[in-house]
Symmetry: C2
């Protein structure tokens, strides 16, 4: 008899999400049926989009139903199979959610071939966050060498990839992150040209200094005041890839202070959801895994231990307390 | 000796523009030099963009220098020429500004060939406003038949063309205008499917009723609360052509209340200035003049008489007091 510990969403937040919204359950695993596969999840990904699913406000995806396992990407290994296509030991990614095991008929599993990349990277730079960075940068911002690209949440799973890809494209790259430690990492380890610490105040002036020629491309993960400060530094014909607005996820909508700049600077802005662009995934994943294998694309993980740690780690992520891609280790 | 009455900008507005910002001057016309052409302006165009030139805030164009003739498009006739390329009687458009006459070396004159279109139309539906409508609709919104397109300032020079072109493209078209009279015109004369009177309050609910399937394309001339109400009715993958934000031209910037909708609805938004897209002018003007000649594109003019009427007419335009394309008749 195997216990499968899992985190359920049991109530919706009013304002800030809290630990009370989650519940640790520990059901037994059922026997496998014909054609089924049992996967032991090694790592669970925690991502900002999950906050949206906790609410029942209108959004691009239906809300997570109450009393079900929280949605989430996982990576792990097949440990039992009654399906001829899958063998114990096969490494797979899936969307099993916040739990220790997953059962599948195989249709929603993706096999991991490239063992030169650490398994957990498939939840970050070699997974959805990496592809998100790749799409927004290449397909929306489409930077030219010599242009200045700015990215918020620069030390995070998406932002760190955006900046490194923009550097490879020959741009001046400025990150925005919270705190000296993250900023030091962004410049010294990731190789950005500069980083603005939004917690130090006056983001507008700091950006002016870090991007003296103005901003041509902006990859937005944060929203709120950081967004306003960036907008006031935009050049004519700049492009904004709108990927996330985590600053407003926990409460009231945060207005954009100067929307008329979108007109006077002739800005092109595009909001996107990476799951709607499945056509570019193969190319993006190929480039990302090659760059990681070659040591040319660096990333950092913020790891907690055990499924029971997921709710607190997730709430920390919403407050920017993580440093790098937030992952829960389940083994 | 001919007097050329003209309106100068003599001070910059602080907040609302006022009559005091303008001054009527009456200098004598100089003798024509070799190669020069004298044009009698018949009509002067008044357009919202002029408000931006009155201020010295950072914008896409440099501010109008003080104590010079206000910028503006004109249409008129050559009355004297010392240039072999131009003859008295030639009809021309130019940017002579707010004055009764203009002198040119010919390089900035555009000859009007098509006499099937009234001369004043070259300042409206067959001129810059018409091309603006054509570009934003076709190149940014790119509507598909069956989609719903909304346009603000719907009875105005730009909005009226946007809606009629969208109808020709097979869309459901909803206008937004100020007052019952303008709304009746938009539906009954221009042929829009519906029109929302923003002065009647609750634009959000009215739009929900007028666009029951949601909004796929929005052509923005206004900004402010109207924009917020439209945004809350946007469909996924909708497009916004950002052409003007007249609501904020006279004072403090007006925030956008729900910028996160740009992300959740995966909106594509583009601010544009039609003078930066000269490549599309010939095609757009051809289509527009043909449609006007064929009686398939209707427009309305709001005309005042005499150059001295321009400042008050312009201030009225900023408040939406005009009804149709605002023009000053100079003859």
């Amino acid at each position: 008899m195997t216990i499968n510990r899992q985190i359920l969403l049991v109530s919706r937040p009013t304002g800030e999400a809290t630990l009370d919204n989650f519940h640790l359950a520990a059901p037994e695993l059922p026997e496998l049926g014909d054609g089924q596969v049992l996967v032991r999840n090694f790592y669970l990904s925690l991502d900002p989009y999950m906050r949206g699913r906790m609410s029942d406000a209108k959004s691009y995806a239906p809300p997570q139903p109450l009393d079900t396992v929280m949605i989430g990407a996982t990576v792990g290994e097949v440990i039992e199979s009654r399906n001829p296509d899958w063998q114990p030991g096969d490494a797979v990614t899936a969307m099993f959610g916040w739990q220790e095991y997953g059962i599948s008929d195989g249709s929603n599993l993706r096999r991991l071939h490239d063992t030169s990349v650490p398994m957990s990277a498939y939840l970050g730079a070699a997974g959805m966050p990496g592809v998100t960075a790749w799409y927004g940068l290449n397909k929306i911002i489409a930077p030219k060498a010599g242009e200045t690209v700015v990215v918020s949440a620069a030390s995070g799973a998406v932002g760190s990839v955006v900046g490194q890809l923009a550097k490879r494209a020959g741009c001046r790259v400025v990150g925005i992150a919270g705190g000296e430690q993250k900023c030091a990492y962004v410049v010294e380890t990731l190789g950005f040209d500069a980083c603005v610490d939004y917690k130090a105040g006056n983001v507008y002036d700091a950006l002016r200094g870090a991007a003296p020629d103005g901003i041509d491309g902006y990859f937005e993960n944060v929203g709120g005041e950081v967004f306003d400060a960036v907008m006031r530094n935009l050049n004519a014909h700049s492009r904004i890839a709108l990927c996330g607005m985590i600053a407003g996820y926990n409460g009231e909508p945060i207005p954009m202070k100067y929307p008329s700049l979108l007109l006077t600077q002739r800005v092109k802005l595009e909001g996107f959801i990476i799951m709607e662009h499945l056509d570019i995934w193969p190319q993006a994943l190929k480039e990302l895994t090659e760059a990681i294998s070659a040591g040319e694309l660096r990333y950092r993980e913020s790891m907690t231990q055990g499924i029971e740690s997921a709710p607190a780690a997730f709430l920390g992520l919403l407050k920017g307390e993580n440093f790098g891609k937030q992952i829960v280790r389940l083994v």
